[in-house]
Amino acid sequence: MIKVRELRKSYGKHEVLKGIDCTIHQGEVVVVIGPSGSGKSTFLRCLNRLEEPSSGEIMFEGRPVVEKQSELNSIRQKMGMVFQHFNLFPHMNVMENLTLAPRKLKKLSRASSEELAIGLLKAVGLEDKKHAYPNSLSGGQKQRIAIARSLAMEPDVILFDEPTSALDPEMVGEVLDVMKGLARRGMTMVIVTHEMGFAREVGDRLLFMDGGKIVEEGKPRDIFEKPGHPRTKEFLSKVL
């Protein structure tokens, strides 16, 4: 579904991504872990071109993810993203947050977009919050709404950029539960996270990044039990 070849990204002289190759298949849950500064988030943000790659090629469903805006916008409609800091629209209530993009981009009527939104709110257990404004929600609730907002565009893949890193510990579980539910229903997901337990339980494949490269990849269980690379070993010994 997503094919990345020789992806490189530099900020001035500093090279953050030093040639990434990877393929993400339909229905796969790929978890990206690694020390901070290893380029995990940059990698993820290059996939939908929120970050402009310096070189390399990214293909999504057979189409190149290119700079041309009209192409890019239609690709992004199929490629959802969930952010560390939620980025809900604070001047709109939950319902408006969810229905804005489907109404404007897919030309759904208000009624059918609201129907869709209600279904998604039920799925994340927040139907009663449909008229609430983001500021009145807890972090965990905000992130569940953000996931629902991204689902409202019915994407083929969702990119998660450290979705639980800004949450109080007691709220991490509710967000991870929603993500597990998505994984069970076969959603393709790429997840940058520090939640090792979750990575192990839900991930079909694990990528360990360090210094702008994918150092090791494989089944999460295999890597957690028998890391092959010394850098992976060192990292896992620190976080587990």
Binding site: L50, N73, Q77, M81, L88, F89, P90, H91, L100, A101
Partner: protein, 215 residues
């Protein structure tokens, strides 16, 4: 003090106030629109657009409104552009206030968290739609005090266009001053008129601000 002239001449003040309001209204609306446009040029990332916008802002901010009014009304006749005095007044106020508005809007837009734009763009929303639905409404709320300030300045500065013969508040007051040999009182009345306009506007904007903030 003698305010007896008001019984015979109050219509002149009323008419002047009406002209002032019209001038300010067009100045505010057009200045705001042009200001948003200039701010977007400045933030566009296109080199030429940025240069044009910042040059405009610097030059207009760096020269007196009074001189701009004279340039637009008298100066432009050199190039065969003859505007009515009222039109010249509106153009001058628009040109002048747009430069300040551009800076207000630029600051307001830049202050909105980048994550807002990223979230909208990641849903597939194009740039313009993101600006219109996500960034500007939030920026507008934060900018309201600064915008109100600018509106008040425009109302007061519109008195400068009396110099090209527009019969607005100040112009009419001076007419009365001259014909009745009253130096002080007509100006006091004019001040009161300006104050009523600006104070009302200030209260209206305050109410709008509170309304937007209750969310």
């Amino acid at each position: 003090m003698n305010f007896s002239f008001l019984t015979d001449h109050w219509q002149m003040f009323a008419h002047g106030a009406w002209v002032t309001l019209k001038l300010s209204f067009f100045g505010v609306i057009l200045g705001t629109l042009l200001g948003i446009f200039l701010a977007l040029l400045r933030l566009s990332g296109v080199w030429v657009a940025k240069a044009v916008s910042s040059a405009y802002v610097e030059i207009i901010r760096g020269t007196p409104l009074f001189v701009q009014i004279l340039l637009i009304y008298y100066g432009l006749t050199e190039f065969g552009i003859n505007m009515s005095a009222f039109m010249a007044g509106v153009v001058a106020l628009t040109v002048n206030s747009s430069a300040y508005m551009a800076e207000v809007f630029r600051g307001g837009i830049e202050a909105i968290d980048k994550g807002q734009t990223e979230a909208a763009r990641s849903l597939g929303m194009p740039r313009g739609m993101t600006m219109y639905h996500i960034v500007l409404p939030q920026a507008f709320r934060n900018m309201l005090p600064a915008i109100g300030n600018e509106f008040i300045i425009i109302i007061k500065d519109s008195s400068l266009v009396s110099t090209v013969g527009i019969a607005e508040l100040l112009y009419n007051a001076r007419t009365i001053q001259g014909s009745l040999f009253l130096t002080f009182e007509p100006l006091l009345v004019v001040s009161a008129c300006y104050f009523i306009m600006t104070f009302t506007l200030s209260k209206l904007l305050g109410a709008l601000e509170r309304k937007l903030r209750t969310r």
